[in-house]
């Protein structure tokens, strides 16, 4: 089951003349990046085995209107997460290789759900809510942008976020942001509940290997889980959905904690280094991770099912046993 996607990655490695460079916002709070779109691309690159040279925005960034993240390769530039993922797929880095047609359709649908229901509330939490903006978002982005852009970047992002929310969610009588707030937060909470139902007890949305949908969901919820928000009602709601929190932590642990160590190693390795050894190393790492996951699943079986606490006992346990038995039978 592992071989399909990985074989593609192996084949592609031998064709790469130079690494692809990704420009994105930097990381903090245990995350490789604090920006949703950048996280989506980073996560997908990890899942599909693409090697990206990640460049954080620093003093060399000159233009305020550039769209972040940006992927540079051999002179061409791609922006927007969806386009970047398409580009990576065309370069044979495909994490969706094993999905059926219907699962591919479901991916599109769930991504649309995230964009419509969850993103406005995320934008509001980080950029429009006064406490969060002043205490967390604005200082962070100001300190990570070069002078003199640091005066303009946060304000511009905030006004873009506000106008997006008002234009898409506020109907004509509701032009006031406070009335729209209630609506977008309740929709976001509903969306999180739906995602939690869909994820159930699985580790990823489509079985045991992560796909682009996992990258999108991770990109949206990880900042919400990890950021130290002064006023976060959506964060509190999300923390109650244990399976989503665990989903996020699993991805961080399995795909991103090695990243810090790997980054240091990669700096000393040149591009002409023998790819076979590196891939063999990667395969053994993956096998170890698989066995860790299997151990974790065993632990999950023994502990209580991860559903919201106020549901009745019979339903979740029936669901849990249903979900876990196909998993077990595969292994």
């Amino acid at each position: 089951m592992l071989s399909g996607g990985r074989a593609n990655a192996v084949h592609a490695h031998t064709n790469m003349a130079e690494p692809m460079e990704l420009l994105c916002w930097g990381g903090d709070w245990d995350l490789p990046s604090v920006h949703t779109d950048s996280l989506i691309v980073l996560a997908y690159a990890k899942f599909s085995g693409a090697k990206l040279a990640v460049k954080s925005i620093d003093w060399t960034w000159r233009t305020i209107t550039a769209s972040v993240p940006q992927l540079h390769w051999e002179g061409s530039t791609v922006t927007e997460p969806a386009q970047i993922l398409n580009f990576l797929r065309k370069q044979r880095f495909n994490a969706d290789y094993e999905l059926t047609a219907k699962q591919g359709a479901d991916t599109m649908a769930y991504i649309a759900l995230l964009e419509e229901k969850l993103r406005p509330a995320l934008l509001h939490t980080f950029w429009v809510d006064a406490e969060n903006y002043v205490n967390l978002t604005r200082p962070w982005f100001t300190s990570h942008s070069p002078f003199p852009l640091n005066f303009f970047v946060p304000g511009r992002q905030a006004s873009l976020a506000l106008s997006r929310i008002l234009l898409t969610k506020a109907e004509s009588p509701l032009l006031n942001i406070t009335e729209v707030e209630g609506k977008i937060y309740s929709e976001a909470k509903e969306c999180l509940n739906l995602l939690s139902h869909r994820l159930g007890n699985f580790h990823f949305f489509f079985g045991d290997t992560p796909t682009s949908l996992d990258a999108f969901v991770f990109g949206h919820i990880a900042p919400l889980i990890k950021a130290p928000l002064p006023s976060g009602q959506l964060q509190k709601h999300l923390n109650q959905l244990e399976n989503l929190c665990q989903f996020c932590n699993t991805i961080l642990k399995n795909y991103f904690t090695d990243a810090a160590a790997e980054k240091r190693m990669d700096c000393s390795l040149t591009a002409t280094h023998d790819p076979v050894d590196a891939n063999l190393q990667k395969l053994t790492q993956l096998v170890n991770k698989e066995s860790n996951l299997i151990e974790k699943m065993d632990d999950n079986l023994r502990s209580s099912p991860q559903h919201r606490p106020h549901r009745h006992e019979t339903k979740p346990s029936a669901l849990a046993s249903e979900r876990n038995s196909p998993l077990l039978s595969k292994h």
Binding site: K102, D106, M108, A109, E115, L167, L194, L195, H197, R198
Partner: protein, 274 residues
């Protein structure tokens, strides 16, 4: 509406049964209505027929301004006025009719996700093609939208609407897209719907749900509306199971009703649930 007001309204809604004189308002059918509004209106009409609830369709030039949220269609039931498919579905659920109660949680999540896909891609693409494509906007959208009004009001309203829609497209990032990219997006969306539908009669096998109503509304309107070119309809036509889905829904819910005498009684109650 704020959340408290919504809850209050649904309490009141639950108290009364569906009246005989429910009305659905939309812009003028022959001259004024545009593709996106027509699609939304048809989706609501289909949903109401699937629930077996009779409604009269009334075409008014100022439907958009009468609507509480500024969007058409809206229904006037008893004392309440509710607009757009989402709130209408909830309103009807408060009255005790629902097409999707039998779905389990995962299926409900899927249904909502697919409805958002249709809204996000198909509806936005329709708006883009109507208002952001200069040729279509000049030839079709602006003349039609402003047809009930006299000069200079027609110019002002048409340009104002165009400006609003373009602003919205800008905010969500669609203004950078070319027309081909938009057609491509529509094609991908139809492909996703086609794969989800497969060979089943409805999206969730035997019984229609609001997702079926929404998809039918949009696809049928795209297939039967004359635009400056047929490319949009061609994209949809290339998926045969979607075509047969549209035929099937049309036969079941629209042909029968015209043939029967107007009793409002439902051969369609098999579409709603026991």
């Amino acid at each position: 509406m704020s959340l408290a007001a919504e809850a209050f309204v649904s309490q009141i809604a639950a108290a009364e049964p569906w009246p005989e004189k429910a009305t659905l308002y939309q812009p003028l059918k022959e001259d004024q209505i545009l593709l996106s509004d027509s699609a939304s209106s048809l989706a609501v009409q289909t949903f109401l027929r699937m629930c077996g609830l009779p409604v009269q369709v009334s075409c008014c030039a100022n439907a958009e301004y009468m609507s509480p949220s500024g969007k058409v269609p809206f229904i006037h039931v008893g004392n309440q006025v509710v607009s757009e498919l989402g709130p209408i579905v909830q309103f009807i659920k408060a009255k005790g009719h629902s097409l999707s109660d039998w779905l389990d949680d995962v299926q409900k999540a899927e249904m909502k996700a697919y409805m958002e896909l249709v809204n996000n891609m198909l509806l936005t693409a329709e708006l883009y093609i109507q208002w952001c494509d200069d040729y279509t906007a000049t030839e079709i959208s602006r003349p039609r939208y402003s047809s009930p009004y006299s000069w200079p009001l027609n110019h002002i309203l048409a340009y104002q609407k165009q400006w609003e829609v373009r602003r919205k497209m800008n905010a969500i990032g669609w203004s950078g897209k070319s027309l081909e990219q938009v057609y491509e997006d529509v094609s991908q969306c139809c492909q996703a719907l086609s794969q989800r539908l497969g060979t089943q009669p409805y999206f969730f096998n035997k019984q229609p749900t609001e997702l079926d109503a929404l998809v039918f509304g949009h696809l049928f309107t795209i297939l039967t509306t004359q635009l400056t070119n047929d490319e949009l309809a061609e994209k949809v036509k290339s998926y045969t199971n979607l075509l047969s889905f549209c035929h099937r829904v049309e036969q079941t819910y629209f042909k029968e009703h015209d043939g029967e005498s107007q009793s409002g009684s439902s051969r369609h109650s098999k579409g709603s649930l026991p």
